[in-house]
Amino acid sequence: MAIDLTLPLLNSLALGSLYTLMALGLTITFSVTRIPNFAHAELVTVGGYVTAVLVNFMALPPHIALLAAFTASAILALSMDELVFKPLYKRGSRPLFLLVASIGVGLIVRYILFSLADATGNITIQTNVSVNPIMRFGRAYITTFHAIVIPATIAIVIALHILFHYTLMGKALRAISDNEDLARVSGIRIYRLRRVAWLIAGGVAGLAGGLWSISLIIDPNFGWDTLLRIFASSILGGLTSFWGTIIGGYIVGFAENIGIALLNTWFGINTAYRPLISFAIIVAVFLIRPRGFAGIDVRNIVSRLVVSRPRS
């Protein structure tokens, strides 16, 4: 029996792109601040809601709404750092405390979203943008959704690559990621520069959430529900690798869609087990290849989370 994989293939590409966008921000803030930011999930959710509300209720054109989603999540990310993470970091908090703090921050944002969504009767919402077929591909259709998400991802990857490799600010961010103390004694004002990292990470996460809300009915939990995939993508790249994260995002996208389709056909595994694939990926990376694809030891990073950092 031949399996038709055209639809899972298209879904893999679209979702892989979204996972890539979401995971890039996680990788960027982890690289620059060493915080595994669990509140990254809520940056995605806020982007989704901002887009949906602006398009559905204020009749704004989608690209304006997406720009607003980028801005809102960027500002939220920056505020998280300025109000919570940075003060803790300056006081010499262990990475483990910062991780727990990020879970708390995410929880607060999530429940504020729940209250707002509940009060206005929008616990579930989807952005009202018609998705039209553009051309046939096997038994499936390439739609306007694919035609937006995939090129947008490519454009952002290129823009970030240029930032990190061709501007002094981007090189300074990579320097902080590589060796924070050496960056400081080179005159890099790390607490100013990390704002750039948070703005980018939040903005791109918000944009991804906004894009996704076009094809998905979202609720205040939707970012949180995706966090495992976001971490899986980033961990596949070793948590600090730019290209590793991109490859990781698409691996998760393909594993979840094509992988589950094959498992379903061959072994009768219910597609409801889809989320377990990310979990399996994380476990597998930790067991088999803790360095991810990029030569960075994830296990070592995780073990360092519980070790004290010298106070300065």
């Binding site: 010499g92 300074a172 590589d178 103390d181 050496l182 400081r184 004694v185 080179s186 005159g187 010298p310």
Partner: protein, 239 residues
């Protein structure tokens, strides 16, 4: 005493809750080479880190060029002319060699001048030119040390703190590095040299400090220290 570029008074510092160096007074003379020697673990690196602001200061004052910098962040200290080459982790391994040098010149206004200086650095160290676009993590120990010093010099510092720049290197590389240090001083940059190899550091320096267990226990010109019986016995061994 206006010729001091750095004065550290009653400096007690460490990491987290632990005190590593206690109640130290150090004066660094402008334009000279000052060596700090002492056995492994005596707190030499911690003292240098304290001058650049990378440790926790429990007590004392640090004066640079007549200004109190005791509470200043490391990035601001480097911006007023304090250069530093750490003992370990003294390059950016995932940045290319050129990028390491660019970051060295990060705070300089003219990018044109930075470019010109990078060219000059690569004339002096041809191996860095050959591998300009490679990641710095691929360099050998001696090459790394050259890059680390070049990175710090890109900032055009007034004073350069060098933490064991010649440790674990082949003799030929060591002599190149020491030649480089003399050249740096001849350009008017003050040098502080931390060394475990006491003899070669004290022969090179104008003034020296000996540390043990977190305290300065001896000070004087290099010659004075090298001719001190107790010092010779404790650090150089009888021959």
């Amino acid at each position: 005493m206006s010729n001091a570029i750095i004065e550290a008074r009653g400096v007690t510092a460490g990491y987290g809750k632990s005190v590593i160096i206690e109640d130290n007074d150090i004066v660094i003379e402008r334009g000279k080479i000052t060596s700090i020697v002492g056995p492994n673990g005596s707190g030499k690196s911690t003292l240098l880190k304290t001058i650049v602001g990378l440790t926790r200061l429990f007590a004392g004052h640090i004066i640079y060029d007549g200004h109190e910098i005791t509470r200043m962040q490391p990035e601001e200290r480097s911006r007023i002319g304090i250069g530093y080459v750490p003992q370990v982790a003294n390059i950016f391994p995932n940045l290319t060699i050129v990028e390491n040098l660019e970051i060295g010149g990060y705070m300089r206004k003219s990018r044109e001048e930075v470019k010109r200086d990078i060219e000059e650095v690569m004339d002096i160290f041809p191996v860095l030119r050959e591998r300009a676009r490679q990641k710095a993590g691929t360099l050998s120990g001696g090459e790394r040390q050259m890059l680390a010093m070049a990175r710090a010099l890109m900032a055009k510092p007034n004073i350069l703190l060098l933490d064991e720049p010649a440790a674990a290197l082949a003799p030929i590389v060591v002599s190149r590095i020491f030649a480089k240090i003399r050249e740096i001083v001849s350009k008017g940059i003050t040098v502080v040299l931390v060394e475990q190899h006491a003899k070669r550091a004290l022969e090179l320096c104008d003034y020296g400090y000996v540390m043990t267990s977190g305290r300065v226990v001896m000070r004087g010109s290099g010659k004075e220290i090298l001719s001190d019986e107790k010092f010779v016995e404790a650090f150089l061994g009888r021959r």
